[in-house]
């Protein structure tokens, strides 16, 4: 009893350290708290047939692979059949009804009753990336189309928008800079910050 009482401050200190440490690792203005997780991760990339049908295969491949090799803790490979866990799946449609967007990313967990959509900050099993062909085709250049693809895959691997003033980033959504259509130094730094080197 006496021992337990004397251990209380130590236990409290350990709890505070763990909670603070977890919070410090988790929160950032530039990436989501958990997503697929912050530990070493292997993601499975899959393209629906619509990607090829609309002629975006190379954009999707380039955009997804752009995020490979930045962190040793984040690796990818492409699957020929639709994966479940740790998956990034891609579709293209003529339009995304109800929204005037180039692309959208949502996140899902797979449980007892199937797939449920989750908050981008929460644990996910899948990121689903969808593109609007009508809006993409109105973009002025292939470089800008590539920007859209790389940008959305950046969300899929856990990055948030980055509209910081004067910073070159493929995660900007207030403007699209064609020459920044691959992960920029700041984007790579955020990937390393989230997943480790």
């Amino acid at each position: 009893m006496k021992t337990l009482k004397s251990m209380k401050p130590v236990i409290l200190a350990i709890c505070i350290t763990v909670v603070s440490g977890t919070t410090a690792l988790a929160s950032s203005d530039h990436y989501h708290k958990i997503g697929f997780g912050n530990e070493p991760l292997h993601l499975y990339f899959w393209k629906d047939s619509s990607v090829a049908s609309y002629g975006y295969t190379s954009y999707a491949n380039t955009g997804f692979n752009a995020w490979d090799g930045i962190s040793d803790a984040l690796t990818f490979h492409e699957e020929s059949s639709e994966p479940t866990y740790g998956s990034v799946v891609t579709y293209v449609g003529n339009t995304i009804p109800g929204k005037d967007v180039y692309g959208t990313v949502d996140h899902w967990v797979y449980g007892l009753f199937g797939w449920t959509q989750v908050n981008p900050d929460d644990r996910r099993h899948r990121s689903r990336v969808r593109f609007d062909h009508t809006n993409l085709s109105s973009l002025g250049s292939n470089a800008l189309r590539q920007y859209a693809f790389t940008h959305e895959f950046g969300h899929a691997v856990g990055l948030k928008h980055n509209n910081d003033s004067g910073v070159a980033s493929v995660m900007r959504d207030d403007s699209m800079v064609a020459s920044n259509n691959m992960p920029q130094p700041i984007d790579k730094a955020h990937i390393i910050e989230k997943y480790g080197d």
Binding site: P97, Y102, N119, A148
Partner: protein, 188 residues
């Protein structure tokens, strides 16, 4: 006696848990959908992509969610009935008069969390759903799948609250577009 006491405790715990679940299940949390909205460099670009520029008031809204066979959302937005009080530009080919009600798709939708209690409202970053009895300026184009449904051009670049109690703009560009639209069409 002991059995009765145990049963009473179990029943109490069940009632307590059920009540707690019901309370939690009635709550809605807000989460973001990560998108890349279409952006416009200037007002001319914004207007060239629109077919209708109107002001008015939202009067009702309906959650619209359609899922595929695996449960993924195929279509997800809110259909808002919008009562027009002024038409400033109309290239739609359909005559719209003051007092007419049009349907507007807002990039907001709500889903049930399944077994996990509560519901989640998913919304495009920085977008705020229109509030009833507040007046808005909308820059719209027809939805490609549902021609009688109007989509807000550029998301935050096509919706502006004209209510004098709240002049909220999302960023410098949307603030500029709002001022330019108000100046160009003499919007009161």
């Amino acid at each position: 006696m002991k059995l009765k006491k145990t049963m009473a405790l179990v029943l109490g715990a069940l009632v307590f848990s059920a009540t707690g679940y019901l309370i939690l299940d009635s709550k809605t949390t807000v989460a973001e959908i990560e998108t890349m909205p279409v952006t416009h460099n200037n007002l001319s670009e914004l207007e060239s992509r629109s077919q209708l520029i109107v002001t008015g008031i939202p009067i009702s809204s309906k959650n619209h969610v359609i899922r595929d066979e695996k449960g993924f959302t195929e279509e997800a937005f809110t259909i808002t009935s919008f009562k027009v009080d002024n038409v400033y530009a109309n290239k739609s080919g359909v005559k719209i008069n003051e007092g007419d009600i049009i349907k507007v798709a807002e990039p907001v939708y709500t889903v049930d969390n399944g077994l996990k209690p509560g519901r989640t409202q998913f919304v495009i970053e920085d977008y705020e759903a229109m509030q009833k009895s507040e007046r808005y300026l909308l820059v719209l184009r027809p939805d490609l799948k549902y021609p009688d449904l109007n989509v807000i051009v550029g998301v935050n670049e096509g919706k502006y609250n004209l209510d004098t109690s709240e002049k909220r703009v999302v960023n410098e560009k949307t603030g500029k577009f709002k001022d330019e639209l108000i100046g160009k069409y003499n919007i009161k």
